[in-house]
Amino acid sequence: MDGEVTGTMLTARIRKERRSAGAASFLLDVSIEVPPGITILFGASGAGKSTLLDCVAGLTRPDQGRITAGSDVLFDSVRALHVLAPKRRIAYVFQTLALFPHLTAEENVAYGLRDLPEEGRRERVGEILNAFRVQSVRKQKPGEISGGERQRIALARSLVTEPRVLLLDEPLTGLDAALKAAIVDDLRAWNAAKGIPILYVTHSRDEVDALGERVIALDHGRVVSAGAPMEVLDAPRRKKLAQAAGFENLLNATVLDLRESDGVMRVRLGESACEIEVPLGYAAVGTRVEVAVRAGDILLATERPRGLSARNIIEGRILSLEQRGTMVIARVDFGVTFVVHVTPGAVRALELAPDRRVWLVLKTHSCHLVD
């Protein structure tokens, strides 16, 4: 085993088909590169994030592909090479943390250190418990300590083994923001010295902003974009990501004019006469763009509203109302059909019904441009 970990790069090219009885088969087909530092793996649940981590850790065998950490090949389907999980030196903090319930915090942390002599082991465990500020609970079992302490113990248990890659599967879910920030700071401080690639799975925007140096966005088993957080996530640049992030309305539009000083442009929706104002994008007059709008970002009014800051007010007609749980899905025709989410209370108060005339109110910045 080499002690040299600084500068290691993790690369993974993975193809893995998952068949489960009754459900549609799922295909993970990705190629990623993870340099030292924190890389966020972002995507909705079911996007394949955990399967990807399981493949990298060696818990799941990919159908095809190649996984390397630095100069070591961990998996290569061509050479039928599959290094088993215990031999990979890849640490993995699971979403459920998977602390051993029958062992104390200290025993949990020492679990991966059995090759060390007793004395060295105790020293290393003591050091990392101090670094993660959980020295005081070392004799307690996971069931007896707080959620934040459990998360710190799980991190310590993984990091104490001096891994060459660290995989984190939503390790901080359920913690309040301050505690989260504190743990992230500890993690950053630890990695400043080690410089290993950390692949951090989350679907929380807060965590992306707090942690992210790089983001890889995953959807339906594919990488849909990768880069700095602002580029990947702020405006949905790809159709796939827009859908994954929950945009119910995806509309074709033609750019009519650009108002650069205002940072907006006017577009015409589809073949209709309906014109709206959207944020300025990289587009020329006459080109076609796609506009994504969340159904929950749209307001409906039964009279023409006045004195609003919203720039887009369009007249239309309700096509249908459909109650889904505590939410009503309205389809409204404005020349193009919009899906709008309203509450049952709003439907009663406004006496919304099919064929009713309504006005749609839409803020410019609720319209997102899609590549």
Partner: protein
Amino acid sequence: MEALWLSLKLAACVAAILLAIGMPVAYWLAYSSWRGKFLLESVVALPLVLPPTVLGFYALVAMGPRGPLGKFWIALFGHGLAFTFGGLILASVLYSFPFAVQPLVASFEGVDRRLLDASAVLGAGTLRTFWRIILPLSLPGVVTAAVLSFAHTLGEFGVVLMVGGNLAGVTRTVSIDIYDHVQSLEYGAANRMALVLLVISFVVLSVVYAVNRRVWTPWTAK
């Protein structure tokens, strides 16, 4: 009392052997993803539905001097297996097999898979994961398996009668002894032995239920 001592000795031997054999079998049943697994599951459960006489009959045939097992045994030790204490142990192991394996499978399956994954990424191989994680977390299942196979062996009758016959000090267990006493109209003696068996069975089952009452499910964060 000789019969009681014999029964207890038999039950203890059978329980020990069953734990040793049952654990690898249960491990395989709990974690294998082989499609034909149901076949082995059915074989393991067979003694639950077969009349003891059927099981005893086949065991006797196999152990007899012309059966495959009997021939093997004679070649090895110079005497047959039927109507001996060894034969009794073998037949009882078969008969009580599901009582050991099924609680083990259930408790192995109850261990959170992610704990096994965690153990693996921390560098532990299959054997270390079994000893350090699976076994301690399955302790109630192991106790249940041991106690149930002990108790079940203690109470068996048909198989013992078929394979062991009724040789005092060799194969005459408590249940056979009671049957003997009743046949000879010695109700007093039968009653004493029956009562002893009843009390032991009750104590043993109480232990099983008390152990399972303990809340020791694997803890997971949620």
